[in-house]
């Protein structure tokens, strides 16, 4: 927004510019606005829309669930932890074979690409690997139980967070 420099009255003109931007945005909006904020100190344009009309409905309305975004919207937890999810439908195994020690335990560090579990489907043993390094803070599924695609198997903390 270098334009603001081109005026003798930066603030007012800045506001003018901000509002013009805001109006633009409002017109090209995906849905009706819920709120608009325009600030000149530190220059800010903030438009807010309801995620969608239904989501804005009172909880009583089952449409809330109905209208939840189709794609999973699992926001990453603030503490930087991340999940390892099931790559397919199947049975979750923590160990390479019955009685054998599990691939990983809580508190253990894992490297990217390290196998952490097996998901068995139709007699096929599918290895589950960590896609990045981290420390296991939770094993989310009991050994030997059925898991759906995308189900959380482990929660890991980033290595740095794991450092004392």
């Amino acid at each position: 927004m270098g334009m603001t420099n081109e005026t003798t009255d930066p603030t007012a003109h800045g506001i003018d510019e901000l509002c013009r931007q805001a109006t633009q945005l409002a017109r090209t909006a995906p849905a009706p606005l819920r709120s608009v904020r325009v600030q000149a100190g530190e220059l800010l344009v903030a438009l807010e829309w309801p995620e969608n009309p239904a989501a804005a409905a009172p909880p009583a309305a089952g449409v809330v669930t109905a209208a939840a975004p189709a794609e999973p919207a699992e926001a990453p937890p603030p503490d930087g932890t991340f999940a390892i999810t099931a790559p397919l439908v199947g049975t979750f195994y923590r160990a390479p074979s019955p009685g054998a020690p599990p691939f990983v335990e809580v508190g253990q560090d894992v490297a990217a690409g390290q196998q952490v579990a097996i998901v068995e489907a139709m007699k096929l043993m599918n290895p589950v690997e960590a896609d990045r390094p981290g420390r296991v803070v939770e094993v989310s599924v009991t050994d030997g139980t059925a898991v759906e695609y995308g189900e959380v198997l482990f929660v890991l903390a980033p290595p740095e967070a794991a450092a004392p």
């Binding site: 969608n52 239904a54 397919l88 439908v89």
Partner: protein
């Protein structure tokens, strides 16, 4: 009867199957991809299992995921719906190998009739009229060229593994043949993982007439009358009705008899559809068999009162059919229109988006099969069918007025979302359709009429 059935499909048909299961006291397991996690059937079924990402190849076309979900949840049978794996013999075999009943014809029959060139031969051998063409898949372009020259242009090249209007191309000019052959071969390889092709004479301006059959797998086959599905765009059906209107004399009866005879020959099991073309000479030829429930099955249900999914379940569970041919007494006329989330103004471009408003028609003699609801998100991942509106009336004139009334009531609104509603209203208002003189060429003719209307006068 089964106590638990897994429904290996999505959209309106998954919901349709779940409804009959509910009425029969059968527990339902739905499956969903990432983009269908909040779908109508996901909410409706007793349980919904997430089986993969949005890409159908990794979810609804993934036999391992579906069979595993079925086994993990105690399903005894799998209903495949239409499309996806519904006519895949390998999937049927995997189900059976894992102790799951595949609700449809046995794998071996799916294989024989799924090979469209072979299916054509089986029909011909059974004495059904077929168009001049190749008696099998053709090995080489040269051979194909010879056959084409022999039967004469225009010809239609079809993928052996195709069907349902997919994997076929018409060639009118011999000089085009080579290119068309190569292109379709590539498409067939990509779409069906099977490059084989065969040839037939192409019939211009024909009517699409199909016969609904039910077989108990023990040799008994009955028909539930025929459907006319001539209103098509690029071989995709838009409007279907039963009985077929304006067929000369006993033709409909002969077509029904031919279908039943052919189905008996292969000892058909479950619900199937024999598709025919009727030329303006008033003669008919066999086209293909669809070994599944059809999208347009509701029109047959509304005139016969028979729940086709219920019959599928009965046959699969070994209970046989609940009706005999004598019990089948079609009454009145039923018309179905397919309301798609497409924009006819932009070449029927699919229009994904969230439905802010969704008010389907209702009232006397109107049936709606839909997975839509207010707040539903139409995604671009799957076919654009949004709702099937089916009406019944004592006669065709009233049925046409009723379907137009129903379409006019249908309110769909969402940013960016368009539907074929108004286009369908134009179809059922078209004098050629009202006179029942339409063929598969109607939609193209309408496009020409539009072009002429737009052209400046003089």
């Amino acid at each position: 009867m089964f106590s638990t059935v897994l429904i290996a499909n999505r959209g309106e048909i998954a919901l349709r199957v779940a409804r009959t299961c509910r009425e029969m006291g059968i527990r339902t397991i739905a499956v969903c991809s990432d983009s269908d996690r909040d779908s109508a059937v996901a909410r409706y079924a007793d349980k919904c299992v997430r089986i993969g990402p949005s890409a159908a190849r990794l979810s609804y076309l993934n036999p391992a995921a579906i069979v595993t979900a079925a086994l993990q949840n105690g399903a005894e049978a799998v209903h495949p719906g239409y499309g996806f794996l519904s006519e895949d013999p390998d999937f049927a075999e995997i189900c059976e190998a894992n102790g799951l009943t595949f609700i449809g014809p046995p794998a071996a029959l799916l294989r024989r009739l799924g090979d469209k060139a072979q299916a054509r031969e089986i029909a011909r051998a059974a004495g059904l009229p077929v168009l001049p063409g190749s008696s099998r898949s053709l090995a080489s372009l040269e051979e194909a060229r010879e056959v084409a020259a022999l039967i004469g242009y225009p010809v239609i090249i079809k993928a052996t593994a195709g069907g349902g209007g997919r994997g076929m191309t018409v060639v009118r000019d011999p000089r085009e043949f080579g290119r068309s052959w190569a292109r379709l071969r590539a498409v067939a390889q990509a779409t069906f993982n099977d490059p084989r092709l065969y040839l037939e004479k192409f019939l211009e301006n024909a009517r699409h007439v199909e016969v609904q059959v039910l077989g108990d797998g023990a040799g008994d086959v009955i028909h539930l009358g025929e459907r006319d599905c001539s209103v098509q765009r690029r071989r995709q059906k838009l409007v279907e009705e039963t009985p077929a209107p304006g067929l000369p004399g006993e033709l409909a009866e002969r077509i029904r008899a031919a279908a039943v005879y052919a189905a008996r020959e292969v000892n058909y099991a479950g619900a199937g559809t024999y598709e025919f073309l009727v030329g303006d000479d008033g003669d008919f030829v066999f086209m293909e068999v669809n070994c599944r429930i059809q999208v347009e099955h509701p029109v047959t249900e509304q005139v016969t009162g028979i729940d086709l999914v219920r019959e599928q379940l009965r046959v699969a569970a070994g209970y046989g059919l609940s009706v005999t041919q004598e019990d089948v007494r079609p009454r009145g006329v039923a018309i179905e229109v397919r309301v798609n989330a497409e924009d006819p103004e932009r070449g029927f471009l699919p229009t994904p988006g969230v439905l802010d408003e969704f008010l389907p028609p209702s009232g006397p003699f109107v049936r709606v099969d839909t997975h839509g609801f207010p707040g539903f998100r139409v995604t671009a991942d799957y076919d654009p069918l949004l709702a099937k509106v089916t009406v019944w009336a004592p006669d065709r004139r009233q049925a046409i007025e009723r379907v137009d009334r129903a379409l006019a009531e249908f309110r769909v609104a969402g940013r960016g979302v368009h539907t074929t509603r108004d286009f369908l209203r134009r179809v059922v208002a078209h004098p050629v359709f009202r006179a029942a003189k339409h063929t598969t060429g109607l939609v193209d003719e309408m496009a020409v009429e539009d072009a002429e209307r737009l052209r400046p006068a003089g």
